[in-house]
Every structure is written in structure tokens, then in C-alpha cells.
């Protein structure tokens, strides 16, 4: 018997196998030493706690929003906004908020005693509180399973809606109306998730149109105020709908994104000269602006509101204009701008470019897109993308064979420089000596820098020499001065004559004028 256990090489004490909770069942390492039942309880508890926190947070924000709204609109409007959310089936059982946050927890405590019931109620709990407390969020972010992600996004949406309410406060009555409409619209959009992207776009555009028509009549045709409100409405709505309408699964946006990305990557060899871009990147200010432009166009993907995305494109364009202006010293025309933008897009390879363009086209306020300055830059970006997709040898002034060779990676074009010693593998042809005059831009830059460094070195040497010369000169000057001083000293030696003695006893010229000294007289006595 004991032999057999040895052969197996396993000897575990019974107690180690048992559930750590001491319930008498066997435990499992995968469940941290607990039996299935105890593990489930533990897990549920932790899970519940996490969910509680999320709910509490969500509710806090929700309440803040409502309070902010109520304070702006007075008590009667709050009841309105609530009654307005009533018709939505999910929102029907809204209890007082303080209750809602406690309810699931107390229920949980109860259920712990009854194992069979628990399963059912947990499932229920997963649905009921979230629908009860945040119907809006549920509708908007129903697809996101992770609480931490939804929390993060809900933080942003809540910030945006807070701003929105702030903004509407200034409008008083119409503000209430706008808020009501926007919320109703977002809720209605939640039921249309299955629609295609074009239908969704249609819905949003219809909403913009209706709202702006109404605003137009309210503001008596002041298009500036209407535009201001519409900007805010767009921001509010699109922040909330972003998740469900950006690059939706019903479209092939994602496929196009990938295709464009591959295409741009395959065109990595295109140089600034081939595109005839009038930007001289060797001027530091210009390359600075090029980098900024690239950053801006990449940043577009991180924005949620179509208008913010447009702003990124505009910013990018402004940097390009600055770069061209520095290079050419005159305002950039479209002839300069478009090639430069193409170059920037090629260099940046912005993420999800097609999705972003589609998103802006579908959900941006149309008045902005069609005539405004932002619209112009956006159109140019569309042109740049279209050009990149269709690009062939002819459009780069290359022969078809050359283009093919570069595309397949067999060869790569080099920038011609006078001292370029970079060997180029041109199919082993003998004419390499002529083609070696071309060097990859990076290498050219490297060469350039090296040259600069060596010239700097030479100049430094020269400086050192000059400094030594100066030192020698100084030393010799010092010596000269010393010598001169010595000479002068020798020539005019300093004789220190003893000063005339002025003792009374000495004989001097005037002494004879003195009366003779008195001689003592002897008085004979």
C-alpha cells in the first residue's frame, strides 16, 4: 500500500484538499483553495462590490446632472424631464435614488442564505439596477462589457453633458426644450442600432436640420446664435453616440482603413521631391511645422466630436501653410498645399483614416462641412486620400517600371547628392556609379550632419589656434612692456640723494649771519 503511494509520488494530506472555508467539501487550486460553492460566493461578493462602486459613481454623476439641470430650470422642469424619460420602457421603475444604491446590496445579503435563489437574482441584478439607474448610459454603451471602460467613457460623457447644461442655462426656456429634444433623440437612437450607417447618418442629419430650423425661427434668423447652439448640440449628441456609430460593423469602414494603411505603408519610398512639395525640410522651422502637422493629423482619431476632428485637420493645415510660407516666402496656394498635405498624410499614416472621414461626413453639421474653412481643409484631406489610393507612376513622374520596382521593394529611390557614396543595388547593372549619386534621405541628412560636425571641428581647431596665438601675443606683450620698463629704469636710474642735513651744528651758509654764540661770562666775585 505504502509502496503504491510512493510510486505515484503524490502524498497530500486530506486536509489540504479540503475547502479552506472548512465546509467539508474539496477545494480546488484554481478557485484559490475553495470549493466551488464557497468560491462562487467569494467571487460574487467581490464582483458585487465592484459593481456597487460603479453604480454609486454613475448615480452620483447622474444626480449631479439632474440637480444642475433642475437648478437651472426650476422645479417644474425637473418633473418634466423625468416624465419625459418615463415612456422609455427601461426607465419605468425609477425609484428614489438613495434607495437604488442600497437595494442591490441588501438583496445580496438576503440571497446569501438561499443558494438556489441566488443565481437567478444575480442575473437579475446584473440587468435591473443598471437599467434602472442609468438607462441612458445603458442604451449608449450597451456593447461595452467591462465596467472600467464604461466608467471611463461615462466620465467623459458626463463632463460633456455638464458643459452642455451649463451652456443651456444661459438660454433659459429654449434651453429646456433643446435638452428635452436631445435626450429624446439619443434614446430613440438606442433603438436603431441595427440600422445601417447611412440610415443613422440620415437620422442625425434630420435631427440637426429640424432643430436648427426651429432655432432659426426662435432666434429670428440670427444664424450665428443658431450655429453656436448647434455646435453644442453636436458635441453633446455625438459624444454619447460615438461608440455605436463610429466605424459601425454594418459598414466596411474597417476594411477600408486597413487597405489605406497598407497602401500608405507600401508607398513609404515616396519622397518630397516626387510630389513636388515646396517645403524645405532643412530649415529647422519648417521641419518643426511638418512634425506638428503630422501630430495633428494623427490626433484626429482621438477626438469624438466631428467638429473636434475637423479642428485637428484645420490645425494640421495651418502648420503646413506656415511651413510653405517660410520656404517660399509667399502665401500658399492650393497648388502648393495639396501636395504638401499628401506628403504629410503619407508620412503620418493616420490611424483609422477612412473611418474618421466617413464619420465626419455622416455626422458633422452640414453647414460647417460645405462652405466653411474647415470644410475646405477636410475636402483637401479627402482629395489627398483619393490621390493616394489612385496614385501611380505617372502622377509621380516615374515610368511604370520604376514605380513597380519601388512598390515591390526591389529598389528604392535615393536622393541625389554630390558626394553620396551609398552603394545602390540596381539589379547589378554596371551603371551603378551614376546611380550611386543618389542617397536615401536619412543618409543624406546623416552626411550633412557629419559634414557640419567636421566643419565645426575644423573651426574649433582654428579657434584653439587663434586662442593660443593670442595667448603667445599676450605673453610677448607683457614681456615687451616689462623690458621697456626695465630700459627706462636703466636709462633713468633713480638716484636717491641724501637730503640736506639741517642740524643746527652743521655749518651752513647762513650760520655766519647768526650772532656769535654767547660765551659764558665769568663774574669775578
Amino acid at each position: 500500500m505504502s509502496q503504491r503511494t510512493e510510486r505515484r509520488g503524490i502524498h497530500v494530506d486530506q486536509s489540504e484538499l479540503l475547502c479552506k472555508k472548512g465546509c467539508g467539501y474539496y477545494g480546488n487550486a484554481a478557485w484559490q483553495g475553495l470549493c466551488s460553492k464557497c468560491w462562487r460566493e467569494e467571487y460574487q461578493r467581490a464582483r458585487q462590490k465592484q459593481i456597487q462602486e460603479d453604480w454609486a459613481l454613475a448615480e452620483k454623476l447622474q444626480r449631479e446632472e439632474e440637480v444642475a439641470y433642475a437648478s437651472s430650470q426650476g422645479p417644474q422642469s425637473q418633473s418634466q424631464s423625468q416624465s419625459q424619460s418615463q415612456p422609455q420602457p427601461l426607465a419605468q421603475s425609477t425609484p428614489p435614488h438613495g434607495h437604488a444604491s442600497l437595494a442591490p446590496f441588501s438583496k445580496f445579503e438576503e440571497k446569501k442564505t438561499n443558494e438556489k435563489m441566488r443565481k437567478v437574482t444575480t442575473v437579475k441584478k446584473f440587468f435591473s439596477p443598471s437599467t434602472r439607474m442609468a438607462p441612458k448610459k445603458e442604451s449608449q454603451e450597451g456593447k461595452t462589457p467591462s465596467p472600467s471602460i464604461s466608467r471611463q467613457t461615462s466620465m467623459e460623457t458626463d463632463r460633456v453633458s455638464k458643459d452642455f447644461l451649463e451652456f443651456l442655462k444661459n438660454l433659459q426656456r429654449p434651453g429646456r426644450e433643446i435638452h428635452k429634444q436631445c435626450r429624446a433623440f439619443i434614446e430613440s437612437m438606442a433603438n436603431k442600432k441595427d440600422l445601417g450607417a447611412d440610415e443613422l447618418s440620415e437620422c442625425v442629419q434630420d435631427f440637426y436640420q429640424n432643430l436648427s430650423d426651429r432655432l432659426m425661427s426662435h432666434f429670428k434668423g440670427s444664424s450665428e446664435s443658431v450655429e453656436r447652439v448647434m455646435d453644442q448640440v453636436e458635441k453633446y449628441i455625438m459624444t454619447r453616440l460615438y461608440k455605436s456609430v463610429f466605424c459601425p460593423e454594418t459598414t466596411d469602414d474597417e476594411k477600408k482603413d486597413l487597405a489605406t494603411q497598407h497602401r500608405i505603408r507600401a508607398l513609404h519610398w515616396v519622397t518630397i521631391e516626387m510630389l513636388c512639395v515646396s517645403m524645405d525640410e532643412e530649415i529647422p522651422e519648417v521641419s518643426d511645422n511638418v512634425v506638428k502637422a503630422i501630430t495633428d493629423v494623427i490626433e484626429m482619431d482621438s477626438k469624438r466630436v466631428p467638429r473636434d476632428k475637423l479642428a485637428c485637420i484645420t490645425q494640421c493645415s495651418k502648420h503646413i501653410f506656415t511651413a510653405i510660407k517660410i520656404t517660399k516666402n509667399e502665401p500658399a496656394s492650393a497648388d502648393d498645399f495639396l501636395p504638401a498635405l499628401i506628403y504629410i498624410v503619407l508620412k503620418a499614416n493616420p490611424p483609422r483614416l477612412q473611418s474618421n472621414i466617413q464619420y465626419i461626413t455622416r455626422f458633422c453639421n452640414p453647414s460647417r462641412l460645405m462652405t466653411g474653412e474647415d470644410g475646405y481643409y477636410f475636402t483637401n484631406l479627402c482629395c489627398a486620400v483619393a490621390f493616394i489610393e489612385k496614385l501611380d507612376g505617372q502622377s509621380l513622374n516615374l515610368s511604370t517600371e520604376e514605380f513597380e520596382r519601388y512598390m515591390s521593394g526591389q529598389a528604392s529611390p535615393r536622393r541625389p547628392t554630390d558626394d553620396g557614396s551609398w552603394p545602390l543595388e540596381v539589379d547589378g547593372s554596371a551603371s551603378s556609379s551614376t546611380t550611386t549619386a543618389a542617397v536615401n534621405p536619412v543618409l543624406a541628412q546623416l552626411h550633412h550632419n557629419l559634414e557640419l560636425l567636421s566643419s565645426l571641428n575644423i573651426r574649433q581647431d582654428r579657434l584653439a589656434e587663434a586662442a593660443q596665438g593670442l595667448q603667445a601675443e599676450l605673453a610677448s606683450w607683457e614681456e615687451g612692456v616689462q623690458r621697456e620698463v626695465q630700459d627706462i629704469l636703466e636709462r633713468y636710474p633713480l638716484e636717491i640723494r641724501p637730503p640736506p642735513e639741517s642740524a643746527i651744528d652743521t655749518e651752513n651758509a647762513e650760520s655766519d649771519r647768526l650772532p656769535p654764540p654767547l660765551t659764558p661770562q665769568v663774574f669775578a666775585g
Binding site: 440620415e202 442629419q205 434630420d206 436640420q209 429640424n210 430650423d213 432659426m216 425661427s217 434668423g221 444664424s223 513636388c276 495651418k318 501653410f321 506656415t322 510653405i324 510660407k325 516666402n329 509667399e330 502665401p331 500658399a332 496656394s333 492650393a334 497648388d335 498645399f337 495639396l338 501636395p339 452640414p366 453647414s367 460645405m370 462652405t371 466653411g372 474653412e373 475646405y376 481643409y377 475636402t379 479627402c382 482629395c383 483619393a386 490621390f387 489612385k390 505617372q394 502622377s395
Partner: protein, 215 residues
Amino acid sequence: MAAGGSRSFSFKVVLLGEGCVGKTSLVLRYCENKFNDKHITTLQASFLTKKLNITGKRVNLAIWDTAGQERFHALGPIYYRDSNGAVLVYDVTDEDSFLKVKNWVKELRKMLGNDICLCIVGNKIDLDKDRHVAVDEAERYAESVGARHYHTSAKLNKGIEELFLDLCKRMMETAQADERLKGGGAGQSVASRRGVQIVDDEPQAAAAGGCCSSG
């Protein structure tokens, strides 16, 4: 983008033409009144706006410059989509540039029909001694395609103001005729998703000529 309300209009005008015919100089002269000036303050000359007041109506003009190089020709439709007017510029000393204009006209008429107001502009008349495009030929051509012809010089500031003013007036007429057509068409046919535009009655709208009856 058609005009906004009845009080103000906003128009998109697209600038087409081969490179080097002076599109940029033309528009810079119009919007900044400068020519080859070192003191030009604007950063760019590809998108410029101008506010006008024509017979008491505010007009916002957005002028879109386009890249004139041959390799960007195919991108034209992206630029001129939704534009109200097109200014087609050629260089009077360069016959090729005039042929390009003819190509543009054909394309624009095919894609946009008669909704777009066309202006054919012979620029650089200060170089008249080197002229290679005959005046009457150009004018005859313009008339045959329903466009107006202008002669300009950005250098001498000749004819530019007139060109844009005339273009604006024509675009206003087109827009007003369009609105009346929509208003008269009982709404349903034009109830596109952009909604029905409510237009105030314009007493002087009759100037555009009897297209009302077609509704």
C-alpha cells in the same frame, strides 16, 4: 450649399485652371488688393472669404482654390461638389490653358448641369502683345456654353471686381429662382431630408424672369 435664408446668402465658388495662369494672384488681388506683394499678411491663398453687400443683401463668398497640376485633375469633383459658381481661369498668352478650361466646362456641365454659374476668365491681359487666344474666339465659346467671359489683369487690377460682382449677382438670381421653384412645387417633391426651406416673399424676386410657372 445653396443660399441660407432670404436675407443673406452664402456661396461657394471654386477656382479652376491650370497651374501658373494666375489663379492665386487673381484671388489675392480681389480679397487683399495686393499683387506679388511682400507685405501680404495672409498665411494662405487657397481658401479666402469675402463679404459683400449687393442691393441690400449680405453675401458671404467662400473662394476655394484648387490644385491646378494635371495629376490632380481627377480630384476635381471632390472640390466642385455643391459649389454655386466656378471661375475658370486661363492665360491669354497660353493656348493650352484655354483648352484646359474647355475641358473643365465640359466636365462641370456634365456633372452639375445648369445649377452652376460659370465664368471664363482670360487673365494676364497686361501681356496683350503675346496674346495667343483670340478675343472673339474665347467670347464666342463662352456664349456657346452659357458662360460669361471676362478679361482681367491681376497685375493691373483690371476687371476683377466686376467679375466677382457679376458672378454674385448671377448666383443670387439662380438661388432665388431655385427657392421659388421649391416654394411653388407644393413642398412634397422637394421635401428632401434637409427639410423645406421657408422663404419670405421677395418683391423684387421677379427680376429673375418667369420660372415660377414651371412649378
